[in-house]
């Protein structure tokens, strides 16, 4: 049933690809019209850069032969191979899948991490510098920490469980975005006399459409990460894949409802923009454990993620005073971390609540923390460097009049 596995993973990859459109719509919708073109550009460019850089460099760094648990062996022969021949261009045969299927699915994941970053840095980042960041992220940062868990590195040996990448994909994008948002500073007018100002998104219909598209894509992201559909004739993976549909969906639904009702009480009105984030928070949080928690556990994870989201958004905005226009740090960073940690509680065999003791929880903590630390440190060095050499932030006038006119010479609405 090798063919069936390939079919499923290819299709799941298509769904993950389409998440790019979802991210683009969410980010455009949640920001102002004058920067919409720039955001679209960024979302396209990071996918394009990521597709190339991960194919040639990132993939072998992530999944190549392990070097002391830290990194895979870079295999540049792929470059030559891919030009000359056809059959052998992907040298790594690491799963039961066709190597092309494998690299396809892994590429779209890498591009997802890159895209998350752009949300946190929206509205003030130089386009050229952003392209550089994307390149390093997909070619180096993402693959290295990805290797630790998914490529056979030290975290995988430790038993760290991050099935589809709450931490490896989502948090990594978010922590890099956090570093970016801090270095950039807030958008003009975001903090007036130290008080946070609302800068409402210009089209929440697009934002909502984006969330629907992301939710759709997640049915490739999570169940596709099984990387199989029919292993063994007993078809264990059918069961696994089907269960992941249920846990993923229940967590997302609960995340939305949790945010909805808490904002309803807290702000007196049911807040649309926040509830949309709540659904995403539920999706991000379940990603790590979607294959090892029960439906009830999934609901708890979604509930916790949806509630924490609100306070995370407020905390980052009002206490830390970090300007994250689309809430990417909370949605992907906070929820990613929480979801990964909660595996330690809700894992139906290893989790604390299921009699598995503190061990898994502890391992989860190590994974979340070490990946966070690594990403923050490396991106800090990277962004500071780029800032010093090329500059990271656009000029004041560009920011005021909009990145679209100044960086791209056109406006999206005419």
């Amino acid at each position: 049933m090798y063919t069936l596995d390939n079919l499923w993973v290819l299709i799941a990859g298509i769904l993950v690809f389409f998440m790019q459109a979802g991210f683009a719509m969410v980010e455009v919708g949640f920001t102002r019209a004058k920067n919409a073109g720039n955001i679209l550009m960024k979302n396209f460019v990071d996918f394009c850069i990521g597709s190339l850089s991960f194919f040639f460099v990132g993939f072998s760094l992530m999944y190549g032969t392990d070097i002391v648990g830290i990194i895979g062996t870079l295999d540049l022969s792929i470059v030559g191979d891919s030009v000359i021949e056809f059959e052998k261009t992907v040298p790594l045969e690491r799963t039961g899948l066709n190597p092309f299927t494998d690299v396809w699915f892994q590429s779209v994941f890498a591009a997802t991490a890159a895209t998350i970053l752009s949300g946190a840095m929206a509205g003030r980042t130089k386009f050229g510098s952003y392209i550089l960041i994307t390149l390093v992220l997909t070619a180096i940062i993402y693959p290295i920490q990805g290797h630790w868990t998914w490529g056979g590195g030290w975290l995988s040996k430790l038993g760290f469980h991050d099935f589809a990448g709450s931490t490896i994909v989502h948090s990594v994008g978010a922590w890099a975005g956090l570093v970016g948002a801090v270095i950039l500073g807030p958008r003009l007018g975001k903090y007036v006399k130290g008080k946070s100002q609302a800068i409402p998104g210009h089209n929440l219909v697009l934002g909502a459409l984006g969330v629907f598209i992301l939710w759709l894509g997640w049915f490739g992201f999570n169940p596709g990460s099984e990387l199989a559909f029919s292993v063994g004739e007993d078809s264990d993976s059918v069961l696994n894949v089907a269960k992941i549909f249920i846990t993923t969906n229940l967590s997302a639904a609960t995340g939305f409802l949790a945010t909805l009702f808490v904002t309803w009480i807290r702000y007196k009105k049911a807040d649309l923009s926040m509830s949309l984030n709540g659904a995403l928070a539920g999706l991000v949080a379940i990603t790590a454990g979607c294959n090892v928690v029960s439906p009830g556990g999934a609901i708890m994870i979604g509930l916790i993620a949806g509630v924490v989201l609100i306070f995370s958004v407020e905390f980052i905005d009002k206490v830390l005073k970090v300007d994250d226009p689309v809430g990417a740090i909370s949605v992907h960073g906070t929820s990613g971390a929480i979801g990964t940690l909660l595996v330690g509680l809700f894992h139906t065999t290893e989790g604390l609540f299921y009699g598995g003791g503190m061990n898994q929880l502890f391992i989860q903590f190590i994974g979340v923390f070490s990946i966070m630390a690594f990403t923050i440190i490396v991106s800090y060095v990277l962004l500071k460097g780029i800032n010093a050499i090329f500059g990271l932030r656009v000029s004041r006038v560009t920011e005021i009049e909009g990145l679209d006119i100044h960086e791209h010479g056109q406006s999206v609405y005419n």
Binding site: A198, D271, M274, D317
Partner: protein, 117 residues
Amino acid sequence: MKKIEAIIRRDLYEDVKEALSEIGVQFFSFWDVRGVGKTHDKKQYRGTEYDTSYIERRLLSIIVNDAYLEITVKTILDSAATGEIGDGKIFISPIDETVRIRNGERGPEAIYYKEKE
């Protein structure tokens, strides 16, 4: 001739239009403006309450012959007032001349009313 600029609640526009039409004022222009004043829209976004510091309004610009001034103002007052704060204002200013672009006609004839046709 006078120009009447009436800043009214958007939702009452249809009523005002009807009322004006009944007294024969069938020509005017309007556009949407924002009014800064005591009434605001309160909004919230992602946990931050904010104040748009304006409300959505509609501005009607009506040029009338002097004879029509009072009745037009009265009609607007009747149809646009709810008695609550936020009903808006009427401003009256002088107009020196009116020209009909179609044929270059000038003066009061350029603003015609129902009964003249």
